[in-house]
């Protein structure tokens, strides 16, 4: 053990929001020059603890010591002055400004005039020192997400931070970008920086960290050396119980084609070519996974099937009928269910109750309404039944959906979409932002539908999810399906390369 005091020592930190206890005496000790994982389920208190350390929240109890000195951090300004920097999950970047402008904003260190050229030179110097490369004079909006993240890192380094907090940094990256990020993170450590890495992905913990703190329900659930532990131990500490083994996969009970798409083309909302000729089929009782980095046309594909997006060419056949130009209502009447990418914006009306959300789209016919008048008794009984069946917590159909956790919101969407025995389910990023427990639940439900003989088109940028659920995997890149593989042949490495557009050696 090193003799010098730890760079961060948080003891007994308590933070309440009204009745909710977010942190219940949490401890965190981070040694200098280590990469420290802070891991836990959603709601375990990871972000709250880091926001306390970054001066955004004042703790109700507990102490913070930096290198042995007790400190009070009243604002991010205090934290930055103490050498703490945060790389936010949702980038805090200003798209129309240049890289250099974003890096220096708020701490320009020049006279009243900006002097763009001097700024760029200063940022380039910083880049050379930490082996991070991105053109300082490019506008941030023209950069891919992986490079935008480097700008965030540069911002923090520019302010002289010794301790860098990465808040779920890999959520928006391709596998290759994740690897590049790991290289940068290791280089930062080797240059003498300390890194706290917040995540709920076990793979990342093992790939890059030295030591692990597990949080559960606002307390420490474990303090581990990465070298001396394993995934199932961490998962057990996070969840507080053993995880169920994945459901045994039954072979596909194919009973014909449920969805057939031929030559589908569409433009994005901005007018760019989003789909450049998609051909695919999904069989009944099969899950077809669409892998790919977000923004390669997956959302347009899902929306075209539902009739939310107008294709410019091609056919979408369901039961022999071309539905390419049908509206969502007609498409749904053919037994198509849809779990949209953004449940808060597209899947739910947040201001409505759970019961009302369960009948969205079904409100205009019996049993929920008669001659245009809603039947509140039926709606409420239906709400109670589905809330119970889909394990919505709290099991109160009169709760406002906006107040539920992300996992429970998604259960409401599933309850509405899966309760009417659909023939085809289109799901887009069904577990984005969900914790392990909720993810497990969503997966089980989708596999259940598959076993029932339903066809599932699963769009996801999470490779783990795609590989856990799919029978076949198609990879989408720049509006095309660059390959379709049986799940058994789809290694992570192969998928990663295909997602980045490397098609050599892959079957067409």
């Amino acid at each position: 053990m090193s003799a010098s005091p730890p760079i961060v020592e948080m003891r007994g930190v308590v933070k309440r929001f009204g009745d909710l206890v977010a942190l219940d005496g949490a401890d965190l000790v981070v040694q200098e020059r280590e990469i420290h994982a802070l891991i836990g389920e959603n709601g375990a208190g990871k972000s709250t603890l880091m926001n306390v350390l970054y001066g955004l929240y004042r703790p109700d109890a507990g102490t913070i010591r930096l290198r042995g000195q007790e400190v009070r951090l009243r604002s991010p300004r205090d934290a930055i002055a103490s050498g703490i920097g945060m790389i936010h999950q949702h980038f805090m970047l200003i798209p129309p400004l240049t890289v250099a402008e974003n890096v220096v904003l708020g701490d320009e260190r020049s006279g009243p005039m900006l002097g763009e050229r001097r700024l760029a030179a200063r940022v380039r110097e910083l880049e050379d020192r930490f082996h991070i490369s991105v053109d300082p004079e490019t506008k941030v909006e023209d950069l891919p997400l992986g490079l935008q993240q480097r700008v965030e890192i540069l911002k923090v380094l520019y302010r002289g931070s010794e301790l860098l907090i990465f808040d779920e940094p890999t959520a928006v990256l391709t596998p290759q970008e994740v690897d590049e990020l790991f290289v940068i993170v290791r280089q930062l450590r080797d240059e003498g920086k300390t890194v706290i890495f917040i995540t709920h992905k076990l793979r990342e913990v093992f790939a890059v960290t030295d030591r692990i703190t597990v949080l559960r329900d606002g307390r420490n659930a474990g303090n581990l050396l990465t070298k001396a532990t394993n995934a199932s131990e961490i998962a057990r500490l996070m969840v507080g119980r053993d995880l169920k083994p994945p459901a045994a996969r039954t072979p596909v009970q194919s009973s014909g084609t449920a969805l057939e798409i031929r030559g589908l083309q569409a433009k994005s909302d901005r007018g760019a070519e989003a789909l450049k000729g998609i051909d695919l089929t999904v069989n009944a009782g099969e899950i077809l996974g669409i892998a790919g980095v977000s923004g390669n046309g997956q959302s347009e594909l899902a929306e075209c099937i539902l009739g939310l997006h107008e294709p410019t060419a091609g056919t979408i056949l369901i039961g022999g009928a071309d539905i390419a130009h049908d509206d969502p209502k007609r498409t749904r009447e053919r037994g198509v269910a849809y779990v949209p990418e953004d449940r808060r914006a597209e899947g739910l009306v947040l201001a409505f109750t759970v019961a009302d959300n369960f009948i969205l789209g079904k409100q205009d016919h019996a049993p929920f309404s008669h001659r245009g008048v809603l039947d509140s008794d039926v709606i409420s009984a239906n709400g109670d039944r589905l809330a119970k069946e889909f394990d919505v917590r709290p099991p109160n159909a009169r709760a406002i959906v906006g107040n539920l956790s992300g996992g429970n919101q998604q259960k409401v969407v599933l309850g509405r979409e899966l309760s009417e025995q659909p023939k085809l389910i289109v799901v887009n990023q069904p577990t984005r932002g969900l914790d392990i427990g909720s993810t497990e639940y969503v997966w089980e439900r989708l596999l259940e539908q598959r076993a029932r003989g339903c066809a599932v088109l699963l769009v996801s940028s999470e490779l783990d999810e795609i590989r856990a659920l799919s029978d076949r995997i198609a990879v989408m890149f720049e509006g095309r399906l660059v390959a379709t593989l049986p799940a058994a042949e789809a290694t992570e490495e192969r998928l990663g390369l295909l997602m980045a557009g490397h098609t050599e050696g892959a079957p067409a």
Binding site: R77, I80, I94, L105, P112, M113, L114
Partner: protein
Amino acid sequence: MTWEMLVGASVLAATLRLATPIALAALGGTMSERSGVVNIALEGSMLVGCFFGVVVADRSHNIWLALAAALLAGLLLAALHAYASITLRADQIVSGMALNILALGLTTYLDYEMYGTTGTPSDLVAVPDLHLTFLNGIPYVGTAIGDQNWIVWVGLLLVAALQVFLFRTVLGLRWRAVGEHPRAAETVGVNVRRMRYAAVLASGALAALGGAYLSLGVAHSFTDGMTGGRGFIGLAAMIFGRWTPVGALGASLIFGYGNALSTSLQGATVGGVRLPVQLLGTLPYILTILAVAGFVGRSRAPAADGLPYETEGHA
């Protein structure tokens, strides 16, 4: 119809004259919206600028005091908007519209109380024209810009100064950052509230300068509702000009030219047919609608424009 009617020196002189109040309102709008606050109370700021400039000119016979009063009045009205939209996070359109109605009611009432039916006195001190005598001998140019009001030149200077300020200075960078992504700006220590207050106050003063130009520079009097929607046209010019000071000036000149034409083409004929001048006079407004709808010169507003901002944390 003659060339003289279309591009004569006097038409250009009129263009510059008519564009100035619009450009000042557009500058105000640009400064405010670049910080993320929509200020449609510019019309009101302009109107109180018109009125209180005249009142103080009448009482003090000092043009400097009159100008100061005009700017202060516009700034105070903007301060109400700033308080409602920044501190109280009210809907910025509703607040702005309420203040416009307040400004119109207040000035109309006070005008009646103070000057009754006789109108404002005819011997008001005024903002003088700047006679550029060295241009006298030069044809065209002399007539076009030789006798413009001081405020026209101040306005042009402000366009250049604010263009540099917004895009070349440290403070300008922070100003734009706050309008695009206030949270990002705050996480690096920029004070969002203070920046937005400054921006809204500045916008009120700029619009009021446009008002003072109308009452003290051109009309030498006050009449009820004399701004006639120039504050709103200024907002259109701001959009047309893509939220930049230089663009705002360009758009204002187009609107001013449209106005100037509808005067100079009065009674003009083309091939024996009389031009419908009244219809031509609507051209700037049609252009406005097209600009606002995005058909002319597609432009993008600051990303956080019009969105109230709540500081994170503080718990």
